[in-house]
Amino acid sequence: MTNLMISLRRSPRTLLERDGHPGPGPGRLGLVMARAGVGKTAFLTGIGVDALLSGQKVLHVSLERTIDKIREWYDEQLVEMLKRDRKLEHLSAVQLTMERNRHIHTFVGQSFSVDRVRQTLALLRDAMEFVPAVIILDRMEYAEVDEPAIAELKSMAAEVGAELWMACRTHRDGPSAAPGHLPPPADGFEDLVDAAFSLVPQDAKVRLHVIKDNQEIVEKGLNILLDPQTLLLVTGVAAKR
């Protein structure tokens, strides 16, 4: 099962790793930036799926969405990967392994608070011995979580040794990035961001740029094209690199 799962990995992360941008690392924050509707959530789900396929535990925290909806996203990506490898018969076995290593926690209405996330982490550890290696905060925009809250979330992730991922929405007509800085509104908390990526629609595909890595702004563009539906690697040149 382990070999099969590793062989399934189709996340852009596999390429980032090869190019020396493996992502933020434990206790650090990774940020994906894009305009509304480009696929931030799909990208974050991809990070989750990839971690699960690598045998890591994932805590997916979401505002707005239902547990069923989030499970659907994971399942869709998994089905896509299995289809490409013609291994759909393994679906339920891989699904089960993923389910055991994933916990989805959703907040309804105004219930979200960093404290509640911290408490849930403690409950998961005490009641289920569940300690995530990756924490995904989905559907949480900068407007909802301010800088001190992000700092706190980061230290909470550091305590359990987990990598933290968030999304940040940019605006079509918003100001562009000042040289050496992240684009707004992420420039407001950029010191806390260890790695940042942006998604830009291009010719019916989505192009992934690394904009910050290892706490340094990256100038060199990376040539990774993603499927606009799944945000997985497009088969072809990019996937074969």
Binding site: F107, S111, D126
Partner: protein, 696 residues
């Protein structure tokens, strides 16, 4: 009956147990003048609400059966199909969902969207039932319809939009603001029967305008005309209603209404909403299958002159014998007509046709497409289709899940024996998920169903309605066996020692099938096995599936492929090929790595947030896979997949761990391979049982 099909509404009222559904139904009957006094659920007068017609339901304060009641409201004919709130009776819920065109989702203004609402809503989604929401109990302390609306969006994923605002809340709840007409509505008189319209109270004006704008935004998505009118500040109530209706029919909008049925407030506007926004029978495509065309899908037309097609969705044993509830989907059903029961091909004469009101039964001459009626004196099962002469139409069969739990029942004396058989034959007709079988070894009667409560209710009904006193055994989980890899077979069955002999040879393989169903494939070329013996081979494999070799439970998901074989001109027979196939299966089965599958239930536990950790623990202890958790204003819900075998006694444990503050629902999720320790334990038990029987 109105000849205008556009004025028929077949609706369900769906709700969590304590959200006041029965009270609401009672008020609807009162306002539509079907009843003349109001009783409450578990009322002090001991009469009880009218729709809750079973004694058992009355006692438990829950609704189990789905009776259909006809009411008239403002020139519309509304059939209310009472949908059960408890998920253990899934088939009852699903059966009602199949015949209704729309639904009112009743939510409690205090408790909001609870776990059962989530399960029932999931089922409605599956059947694509358009719905409007009614937030009840706005008079209770802690009522907050806006929070409930948010929960509709966040927990159920509805695009919920307010069509009303409350005027006052809790003890001060007075009426509602109608955000379409932009006016206040008050309910006067002893029973709220006098509607009084007025100006929106000044303190609510600003909020009403803001919500009205939100409503326009949401509704405009479904109507360009409204969008243009809104831009010109010219949106009329008609345009808004039309757009909201489109949104509701496309399942993309859920308008939210509110009130307090108990305090007689808000019910009439909700009834108006049923006529405005929920579909009439022509709005919903009806798919059936044509058995003459190899089961090809056909769309029925709600046309009174077409071939009559009706569907039995509910049986009721009444004073006058069996009453069958039918929905007429196409054509007209007249008293004295002869129709054909598709399943049995029997001709049935419609002797008596009735419309069920809450207080009485009305004899009618005819019922047209879209209508729901009762007929007397026919022998049928629920799910049967009746069609006039013509193509053999069958309504698409309802998905019937396999039972997951069973227990033995034995009558205490011979009188109970007779009554029990009567009761069981009745229940199996009513409920396809309730099954009865005879254990050939112990000679005990076994009843099977979808959950502990499901069986308990039937046992209880046997006692009460049929005076059949029975003793029950411990509940047993319905395991399955399945193979996990391909195994070849090459088996020769040969007995040729004097007299007529037996000779059959089968070669091929068995492997897991893709969809979990049994499949038989004949790949024999050149007549190595004569065609006439092929069905016997199929039969042989099929009979092997009834009882697997591991623990004696049915084997599922086998694909048996026959590639070669041999026969003898004189000694081959159906019997010989059946035996050969059975033996071949038995041998190959051992090599196909068989394993035990156990039923896994989707469990949702919900209660105050302080118990979140206790929920995790309790589910983990029961071998659960926790899927996720949700927090909502101090409440926590945890969803998990838990093997049914571990769920016995969970309600008691949960109650004691949470001082009765938490509740849970469960429904069948899937069959999954049992872990090694569990399988070994089951194997051990089975072997001991078998050797005990052999010793005996």
């Amino acid at each position: 009956m109105s000849s205008d099909i556009h004025k028929i509404r077949n609706i369900g009222i769906s709700a969590h147990i304590d959200s006041g559904k029965t009270t609401l139904t009672e008020r609807i009957l009162f306002y539509t003048q079907r009843i003349h006094t109001i009783h409450d659920v578990k009322g002090k007068d001991g009469v009880g609400a009218t729709m809750d017609h079973m004694e058992l339901e009355r006692e438990r304060g829950i609704t189990i059966t789905s009776a259909a009641t006809h009411v008239e409201w403002k020139d519309h004919h509304i059939n209310i199909i009472d949908t059960p709130g408890h998920v253990d009776f899934t088939i009852e819920v699903e059966r009602s969902l199949q015949v209704l065109d729309g639904a009112v989702l009743v939510l409690c203004a205090v408790a909001g969207v609870q776990s059962q609402s989530i399960t029932v809503d999931r089922q409605m989604k599956r059947y694509k039932v358009p719905r409007i929401a009614f937030v009840n109990k706005c008079d209770r302390s802690g009522a907050n319809p806006q929070r409930v609306t948010r929960a509709l969006r966040d927990k159920l994923g509805h695009n919920a939009v307010l069509l009303q605002l409350p005027i006052g809340l809790e003890a001060k709840f007075e009426g509602v603001v109608d955000l379409v007409e932009m006016r206040a509505i008050y309910f006067r008189g002893d029973n709220g029967e006098q509607i009084e319209n007025g100006e929106i109270p000044a303190e609510l004006q600003a909020e009403a305008e803001e919500r009205h704008a939100e409503l326009l935004d949401a509704a405009s998505m479904f109507s360009d005309e409204l969008m243009e009118a809104a831009l010109e500040d010219n949106a009329t109530p008609e345009l808004i209603r039309e757009a909201v209706r489109k949104g509701v029919l496309s399942l993309e909008l859920t308008p939210v209404f509110m009130g307090s049925a108990y305090k007689n407030k808000g019910v009439q506007p909700m009834m108006d909403a049923v006529t405005f926004y929920l579909p009439d029978p022509t709005d919903v495509p009806i798919e059936a299958i044509d058995l003459d065309q190899d089961g090809a899908a056909v769309e029925l037309q709600p046309n009174p002159d077409a071939q009559t097609v009706a569907y039995a969705f509910k049986l009721d044993e009444g004073r006058y014998g069996q009453l069958t509830f039918l929905r007429v989907y196409q054509g007209t059903l007249r008293k004295g007509d002869t129709v054909i029961q598709t399943r049995t091909r029997k001709k049935i004469k419609i002797g008596r046709l009735v419309r069920m009101h809450a207080d009485k039964m009305e004899d009618i001459e005819a019922a047209t497409a879209g209508d729901i009626v009762g007929i007397f004196g026919i022998d049928c099962h629920t799910g049967d289709t009746f069609a006039a002469a013509g193509p053999q139409i069958n309504m698409t069969s309802m998905y019937v899940p396999d039972p997951v739990i069973s227990l033995s029942v034995s009558p205490v004396d011979s009188k109970a024996q007779d009554n029990m058989s009567k009761a069981l034959s009745r229940f199996t007709k009513e409920d396809p998920t309730f099954k009865v079988s005879l254990d050939p070894e112990s000679n005990e009667t076994i009843v099977s169903g979808m959950g502990e409560l499901h069986l308990e209710v039937y046992i209880e009904r046997m006692r009460r309605e049929y005076s059949a006193e029975v003793e029950t055994g411990a509940p047993q989980v319905a395991y399955r066996e399945a193979i996990s890899r391909r195994a070849d077979f090459d088996y020769l069955h040969k007995k040729q020692t004097g007299g007529s002999g037996q000779y059959a040879k089968v070669v091929g393989y068995i492997e897991p099938s893709k969809d979990g169903e049994y499949e038989f494939v004949d790949k024999i070329r050149g007549g190595r096995i004569p065609t006439e013996y092929i069905p016997a081979c199929d039969k042989g494999f099929r009979s092997s599936l009834e009882k697997g070799n591991l623990i004696g439970f049915p084997v599922v998901g086998v694909r048996a492929v026959l590639t070669d074989g041999n026969s003898h001109a004189v000694d081959s027979s159906d019997m010989a090929f059946m035996t050969a196939s059975r033996m071949a299966f038995r041998e190959a089965y051992k090599r196909a790595r068989p394993r035990i599958l156990e039923p896994v239930m989707r469990v949702s536990v919900e209660g105050p947030g302080e118990f979140q950790g206790a929920f995790y623990k309790s589910l983990m202890q029961r071998r659960g896979t926790v899927l996720g958790s949700t927090e909502d204003a101090g409440f926590a819900r945890v969803d998990a997949d838990v093997p049914l075998a571990e769920m016995f006694g969970y309600s008691t444990d949960l109650r004691s761990a949470t001082q009765g503050k938490a509740e849970f629902t469960m429904e069948f999720s899937k069959y999954a391979p049992a872990p090694k320790e569990v399988s070994e334990e089951l194997l051990k038990k089975y072997r001991i049982n078998v050797s005990d029987e052999e010793d005996a």
